[in-house]
């Protein structure tokens, strides 16, 4: 009995033996990849323009993100060197201040505590002062300065500052958190700008690839129609364009990394000179290999996606 979907077969037919599905699949993927690369190389200027536009679109948010990473690192460095100054009440003598310093060192949120006695404070003031101020200091008979504990925080310095302020021995705490808050907010804003830029320019890159692939599809419309009439599946038609999109993305990602490296190279020396003039050893951090790999993967995925959207749209249009 014939199967419900039984199809006629030519009497003299000697069916060609297909290879295993995996071998055929692999072979066609390889052919599609090679054909796509060949198509890119045959049109070097068009390829260069597409890759160039994509690379700039990728490099802009990536560059901004790198700057933010470096600023955050700089902020982190400053944070580590920041100290909370605890001015003790006038009646607290150095011995008691030393006891308090020892107890504070035992706290988990304290990295270190340095005691500055009134004598040390006065000596520092004398060193730093000249002229009328030095005379005024000499004119004061009794040392008016209190003991000061210089606390270097570990972890959340705000809660530590509040805890230090609550101590009965504390007169007041000098802890300028405002600048840190502002820096954090600027960094947060910058990060959001980088994400928005990345989304917009990523969409732009996707559209650039999509448009390039669309033009390629248009120029090969007849060939595609022939292949479809011979029984090419959507996957067979789509595959070379997906590879083309991914190859554009990969090349654009590599070019974007090259542009960023060149920019970093150009800025390195003047920035070092600037940092040194402030007594800092700050230097720009370049993109690391893992991040570079991620950039390449994302760029290739963008190209693949752009090509996939356009090819899918085209194939839907050609369906009977």
């Amino acid at each position: 009995m014939a199967k419900p979907n039984a199809r006629p077969v030519a009497a003299g037919a000697t069916a060609a033996k297909p290879r295993s599905a995996v071998a055929a699949w692999f072979d066609h993927h390889l052919q599609s990849l090679v054909a796509s690369l060949g198509r890119m190389l045959r049109k070097p200027w068009a390829t260069l323009l597409t890759v160039g536009v994509m690379a700039v679109a990728l490099a802009l948010p990536l560059g901004l993100w790198l700057v933010l990473e470096n600023v955050a690192r700089l902020g982190g460095t400053v944070e580590q060197s920041r100290e909370v100054a605890v001015f003790l009440k006038q009646e607290i003598d150095p011995a008691r201040a030393d006891t308090l310093a020892r107890s504070l060192r035992a706290r988990a949120d304290v990295a270190s505590v340095t005691l500055r006695t009134p004598e040390q404070g006065l000596a520092s003031l004398r060193e730093a002062s000249t002229g009328v101020y030095a005379d005024a200091i000499s004119a004061v008979g009794e040392n008016p300065l209190p003991s000061v504990l210089v606390v270097r925080p570990r972890g959340d310095e705000r809660s530590l500052a509040q805890a230090l302020q609550a101590l009965p021995e504390t007169d007041f705490v000098q802890h300028d958190a405002i600048w840190r808050d502002r820096l954090d907010r600027w960094l947060g804003f910058g990060a959001r700008v980088a994400w928005v830029l990345a989304a917009l320019l990523g969409l732009g890159a996707l559209l650039v690839v999509g448009n390039t692939v669309r033009l390629d599809i248009q120029s090969r419309r007849e060939e595609i129609a022939v292949l479809q009439s011979l029984g090419a599946t959507d996957g067979f038609i789509r595959r070379p364009f997906l590879y083309l999109g991914a190859a554009y993305g990969l090349a654009a990602g590599a070019l974007a990394l090259g542009l960023l490296t060149a920019a970093e190279f150009a800025l390195r020396q003047p920035l070092r000179a600037l940092a040194e003039s402030y007594g800092s050893r700050f230097a720009l951090d370049a993109i690391d290999p893992l991040q570079a790999g991620l950039v390449l993967a994302v760029a290739a995925a963008l190209g693949w996606l752009g090509a996939g959207v356009v090819t899918g749209h085209f194939l839907r249009q050609t369906r009977a």
Binding site: A2, R7, A16, P18, R19, V226, G231, A232
Partner: protein, 229 residues
């Protein structure tokens, strides 16, 4: 089992144009027949329905026992691999050699390269183009290009070969060559359905003829009736 059967098939295009109306006929294994009629009679639509380039509005087109109405997605591509098609304008890929054009249907099926080479040689010999395997289609005459198109349609050894005005651009001598080629296919088990408006050619072939007029099948003439005039 018939190779192809149309059961009360009608086709109306979205614009409202009625291309086919209640058409019924069948094609037997190893049969060659012609579909003829004036321009706009519905010949091309009929071929498009067989090749799933269009869908019927009503009725059923059966390929073997498979109702083509139920074929969709990947099934469309699989169906097209089982029907050889020859076009009036050849539709060859001009940047690929004759051998590459002819081997395309086997590439789509994932056949091994050495097997493809062997079968391409064989089918090119059948259409007398064995020496032109490496030529580009643009280097061939119109008749040779048409034979390449036929070789491409035959390489998959389809049960049914449909041809849309295959001699439309050819002179009478070349037309006769192409028709002789088609006439030899049924004995190898391939049914052949040729759409042509060239009545002289159709009569000379002395095969079954379906006559269409304004989308209706108005006559189904057997070879014997044709021979009787």
């Amino acid at each position: 089992m018939t190779v192809l059967r149309f059961d009360n098939v009608s086709k109306q295009y979205p614009g409202g144009q009625q291309a086919l109306t209640d058409m019924s006929f069948s094609v037997n294994p190893g049969e060659m027949l012609f579909v003829t009629g004036h321009s706009g009679a519905g010949k091309s639509t009929l071929l498009k329905l067989i090749h799933l380039a269009e869908r019927p509005t009503r009725g059923a087109v059966l390929f073997g026992e498979r109702n083509l109405r139920n074929v969709s997605g990947r099934g469309v591509a699989m169906h097209r691999r089982e029907v050889g098609v020859v076009y009036q304008d050849h539709r060859l890929l001009t940047d690929r050699s004759v051998a590459e054009n002819v081997g395309l249907p086997l590439v789509l099926r994932g056949v091994r390269r050495d097997e493809i080479r062997k079968r391409v040689r064989s089918v090119l010999d059948r259409v007398s183009l064995g020496t032109r395997a490496d030529a580009l289609p643009t280097q061939l005459s119109a008749g040779e290009q048409q034979r390449v198109g036929i070789a491409r349609a035959l390489i998959g050894e389809p049960a049914l070969l449909v041809a849309d005005e295959p001699t439309g651009n050819l002179d009478p001598t070349l037309s006769a060559e192409i028709m002789a080629l088609f006439a030899g296919l049924p004995e190898r088990g391939t049914s052949v359905l040729v759409a042509s408006h060239d009545l002289g050619l159709v009569k000379r072939m002395k095969k079954r003829v379906l006559v269409l007029d304004h989308g209706r099948l108005v006559d189904d003439i057997s070879p014997e009736e044709l021979a009787d005039g």
